[in-house]
Symmetry: C2
């Protein structure tokens, strides 16, 4: 039977099975797979095993493959024909702190009513990325249940370290290059829709360089009465270094930082302008009103086409209740750079470290700890697979799918290109208010339901 004629039956199966699809998602959300914290290593393994069991139940040849970190789940369909897609998502999640700001247990998923009456699934990972991942797996399930097969050849690679640097995935892909490069196109589900009505495929992603610096001055903590004024204070040193990273006009001060950054084309600028992005609403929803980046740039440019430097964490000295008049021995910060197309992560990391070392006063030393790096990527905007996927999405949402950029980094898309030679279609159903990485993360029930339906259609479209 031609694939397109089966789509309605598969969609009906998705609708009929939604309740059970949700229950399966909840099972996965209850697993505390926080990859960055070694205390949760067993939970990451449990999430991987759960996925293997699900995939095996759908007829995939699946296994949790060991890495020096958390396992990578790989599954291959055994009975399909047609084009071959390699689907990627990640089963690990961010830490939940500050946990006291959650309105319910982050690992006990709840179906709640959002502020505007929409149904939302609340849990850590509901959106990023377990909910998104399950839209694809449940679409495969619907195809198998309704038709006994899949419309294209499907492989999956599900990572457990996306939120913690993902340093073990590239060597894993290198080691299994022949097995994984057999696909024709990679699919990644870790991005947003343009808005509630408009599906999108992301073709520009920023890269990332993450570094940790630890400044040491004295060889022990000192009393600020006994030593204050004479002893170098690493909190002050660190603050001065951080302050030196941004100019008053909002630009990043590293020498050569913008050398490889190209201005976007007038065509792209026009297309982005036509999206009707509401800067005031975007900032207003998080309590802000003035863009903090380079002056005379639109917010979309700042987010999609301009690099940034962000201080993701910093700590030094006494930070508990009350006060302690200490001059600490050490202070440290977690600092990341978001990169755009053309920027070399290694070059930026080196420029950053040189900048820090040049500003280190006498008696101070610095220790650097890298936390991953990946270049920005750009997906060609005129390929067959892209056009097919856009058509599938447009059919489901009754609205033309748009092509967008993203300020986030999805390093695996760069690795798909570099290691496997595959282009990536970034298709996702998240929304900007999903509070990913924050307390009370949620995924719209509509994102989940119509995300599954979208993949049913996209897989059919890719079958040609």
């Amino acid at each position: 039977m031609p694939v397109q004629s089966q789509v309605d039956a598969v969609l009906a199966q998705v609708d009929a099975g939604l309740e059970q699809s949700l229950e399966r998602l909840y099972e996965l959300l209850r697993i505390k797979s926080i990859s960055t914290d070694p205390a949760y290593a067993a939970e990451c393994q449990r999430a991987a095993d759960w996925l293997v069991s699900e995939l095996a139940g759908l007829g995939f040849d699946a296994a949790a493959r060991p890495t020096p970190g958390h396992p990578v789940v790989v599954g291959h369909g055994t009975d399909q024909a047609g084009p071959h897609v390699l689907f990627y998502a990640h089963y690990d999640v961010q830490p939940v702190d500050p946990v006291e700001l959650w309105h319910s247990d982050p690992f006990e998923p709840q179906l709640k009513e959002g502020a505007d009456g929409r149904k939302i699934i609340v849990a850590r990972g509901a959106s990023d990325d377990k909910g998104q991942m399950m839209t694809f797996i449940e679409a495969c399930r619907a195809w198998k249940t309704a038709t006994g097969t899949l419309p294209v050849k499907v492989s999956l690679m599900l990572e457990g370290e996306e939120e913690s640097g993902g340093k073990n995935l590239p060597p894993f892909m290198e080691a299994h290059r022949d097995e994984l490069a057999a696909a024709d196109i990679a699919l990644v589900c870790d991005t947003d829709m343009w808005n509630r009505q408009t599906p999108s495929i992301t073709t520009m992603l920023r890269g990332l360089v993450a570094d940790e610096i630890e400044i040491t001055c004295a060889n022990k903590d000192l009393h600020s009465g006994m030593f204050g004024n004479a002893a170098r204070n690493p909190n002050q040193v660190l603050a001065e270094i951080i302050a030196s990273l941004r100019a008053p006009d909002g630009s990043v001060t590293l020498p050569s930082f913008y050398d490889d950054v190209a201005e976007i084309s007038p065509e792209l600028k026009a297309q982005w302008a036509s999206l009707g992005f509401d800067e005031a609403k975007f900032l207003g929803e998080v309590g802000l009103s003035v863009p903090a980046g380079e002056q005379n740039r639109s917010v979309l440019e700042m987010l999609w086409a301009r690099p940034t430097c962000e201080i993701n964490g910093m700590i030094g000295g006494y930070t508990g209740d009350g006060f302690k008049t200490v001059i600490p021995a050490k202070a440290s910060a977690k600092i990341s750079f978001r990169l755009v197309s053309g920027m070399d992560p290694a070059k930026i990391r080196a420029a950053f470290r040189k900048h820090v070392e040049e500003r280190l006063p006498a008696d101070c030393s610095v220790k650097f700890t890298p936390h991953g790096g990946s270049p920005a990527i750009t997906v060609p905007s005129d390929g067959t697979h892209l056009c097919q996927a856009l058509a599938g999405l447009s059919a489901e949402w009754n609205k033309d799918a748009v092509i967008t950029g993203s300020g986030g980094s999805i390093p695996v898309a760069g690795d798909f290109k570099k290691i496997l030679g595959l282009d990536t279609l970034l298709i996702g159903f998240a929304h900007v208010d999903d509070q990913i990485h924050s307390p009370n993360e949620k995924y719209d029930l509509e994102s989940y339901h119509r995300g599954i339906r979208s993949w049913v259609r996209v897989l059919a479209a890719l079958a040609g």
Copy 2:
């Protein structure tokens, strides 16, 4: 019997009872009286009760008097004549973090051998201030045991909130002014000897203004991919504010900060120069070599006669293991100023807050939390009590006692003057390597033993 002729017998009693004196100190050191952390409130009460019991056993009319915070222990001798001293020390201690750097349990005191073979008592509070406090109490015990009485009239006021702002003590002193102001002179045991051979009395103490600032930008934590560049990052804002507090020449940048700071007299400068202070050794012992404060000032000037601004703690964003690409909603810092004679704490606090508010970018707010403030104090260097006490110390150490300054703040000395009209003699036996406020705090056994003996002699000297 004349007081001076009894001294040898009392000193012999100190020597004979040293083992038991140590056991009593250990009992007190085992009590976890961390005043700044509400979790240890019951331990603070326990320390106060323990002291009341000790004092009552020595014939003092003693009680743990309630305050809105931890109790103040007050004891009055009931049978003495002669001059009346009011002894002050504090029974609370600093937190113990980072606890992993302690070589033994901070609350299980141990008699160890120091690097150069000296015997040291290791525990939180061993030096600051339980060890110092007990030198006086044990001296009183020796007088009572050997002679049945004390050579002067003795009252004690032992505080439980010195390490946490001490905000309840001034109102307590106000409320009991008549009772406490009956003394002729205050004695405080919370300072250092000049060096291992040379006892000293401190006549200049810096004041303190402690403030906490919390900067808020967005109304929740944000993903740095989704918002980085467009959203204001409070870590960056806080770092820029902290950096703005110090000029490249090491001076503090608050407008008018130095307006009320007088240069020290040529005489004092000469006296300090004659102390033979070894700057390189002082800094070298804590792993430093270059003074961080104002250029062209000696280290002693920086510490004793110049104000400073220190960042005692700062925190914002994700600071756990691994990496989290978050833009936090808030960042905060604990900041203190050490003041010298002439500076008004209220004026400095106001100037600091204005400086912060003026540097706050759009969309940011700041919350200030005060953590205590007190002016610097200067004790007249020619009074009778001072000369008597210097003589007593010189006799015990066979070396002329010196007059010094201190970079630390002992707010109670200012309050003794302001509220009770009393001058204070600051006499202590601690050493600069005692690691107070740091891991592995210690008190030399010699400090304890000869500190007790010193008080025996000072009390006799004050009897006239």
